[in-house]
Symmetry: C2
Amino acid sequence: MSEPTKTSSGSLAERVAAGEIRALARAISLVENRDPAGDRLVAELFPQTGNARVVGLTGPPGVGKSTLIASICTKLRADDRDIGVLSIDPSSPFTKGAVLGDRIRLSDHFLDPRVFIRSMATRGSLGGMAEAALQAALLMDAAGKDDVLLETVGVGQGEIDIVDHADTVVLALMPGSGDSVQALKAGVMEIPDVIVVNKSDHPLADTMMREIRSVLSLGPSRSWRVPVLKTEAAKDEGIEALVEALAEHRSHIEREGSLSERRGRNLRAEVLGIAVARLRRDLERRSQENPDWAGLLDQVVARQIDPASAARQLLDQTIEDD
Amino acid sequence: MSEPTKTSSGSLAERVAAGEIRALARAISLVENRDPAGDRLVAELFPQTGNARVVGLTGPPGVGKSTLIASICTKLRADDRDIGVLSIDPSSPFTKGAVLGDRIRLSDHFLDPRVFIRSMATRGSLGGMAEAALQAALLMDAAGKDDVLLETVGVGQGEIDIVDHADTVVLALMPGSGDSVQALKAGVMEIPDVIVVNKSDHPLADTMMREIRSVLSLGPSRSWRVPVLKTEAAKDEGIEALVEALAEHRSHIEREGSLSERRGRNLRAEVLGIAVARLRRDLERRSQENPDWAGLLDQVVARQIDPASAARQLLDQTIEDD
């Protein structure tokens, strides 16, 4: 399965580090396909990461995250910055097309060699995809991108939440995002660094802004005051203020010293997340293949062994097997 | 830490099985505190579970889930059914009070010995709490409750989703739940068995009903047509139709044979979920205690070892240590 990592112009790692687009695309395919060569490549390039500014954009489906990313790209390109975009697509058999169709605005940048765009769909477990996405983000970083933009829907992502890899997290909402506002209020959704209300030409946009500000005012005061911005990404309105807010947040955490603290926390969480995701995959595979385990699970279904005891037996066997 | 499991009137397991309220309360405290006696108790009582009708009620914060549960209880009590209610409270340091305050309507039933109500707050990891909640639901089942109602917010719940333990899943929304409707549409939220639009006196309730029906009509047709009902739980309006829909869904899956299939799938997922949650806790504990691991994580932060390689080392060490 391993792909050759050498070409006439150097190893794949060297070519990624030199910012070669085709090398980066191939490298990301390796991690996406869980090719061991992908792991080795990330391991080799990891010391060269950490220079990109990583921005995570999250929010419920339909708020226009891709359009926002496209507008942000236009603005950042005007400042001559190199950009990597990673869209994590929680596609389902239900309406795959609708979610991808949302991504059309990004095509404005398809011909720009300095905007590298990659979309990753979930294949099977979200955990495995998140791990690949994390590695893809590291590869973009190693390839010398000034900005790495990560886009994903704001739902629980299992073991690893790719947005947590970001230095700055932007939550995009729209008029009608009542559930997300309630989730922020109840504390079940973490407060992001920047909040955007997109589709600002909607008559209820200002009401939504007020609601969000009122929720934020209930929380503890912090050194960073979360800006709540209004955008109309489809018309490039409000994007300048958003890009400024990203730069301000970045300066703030650099000044405060919390950038390295945040990255340290993120990386630790990622190591544990990857370890747990691998254990889960391993357990799932074994439970499908091993006739003893299938029998054990059947006993649970027959109410002979309770789930916790069965889980313990599973774990004991895993450790014996290794 | 183990509590005595004997009293003059029999073992704790016997008293739970006999439906003794105080015994059930004590048993649930044991599983909530992760006392090994709790695990043993569930193991002993598990063969006596499977008789309760388990209904999961999920939905974003603020839609009135607890008020719905209270109204459902009133209706079920009129049919002389014994009820267990388990509210899973994703409390956070941010606004603990607000979420609990929501639960006041349930107090109507506090004096009824045949409505057993328990609220579980997340302490630390949601995974651990979900495992305890699952065991608490099994204990209520073993105690002879006719109905076990599980209430939780509709956000990703990590390894184990307690609502997935239910035979029938109800999603509660309200006018303004645009994000949830979009999530259903995009396929990132699973289609439940019954949908309720609560707060039906809101001027936009009918619009929300239409939107939901239109989303459902996009999906594949199934043998069970998901009813979309309008309620005003605070006034007990629409609850009769909801309780009927629960009974109809139950008959449907019994008739179709999908009840046992669903339970089999749920139990298998729970075994894996518990196993993964325990592995995660174990890894987290070790990574905090073990100086080698702390050093390994520091090397990741220093960009000397990449996260995936560090995760592999962590896993190799775990297996060696055991």
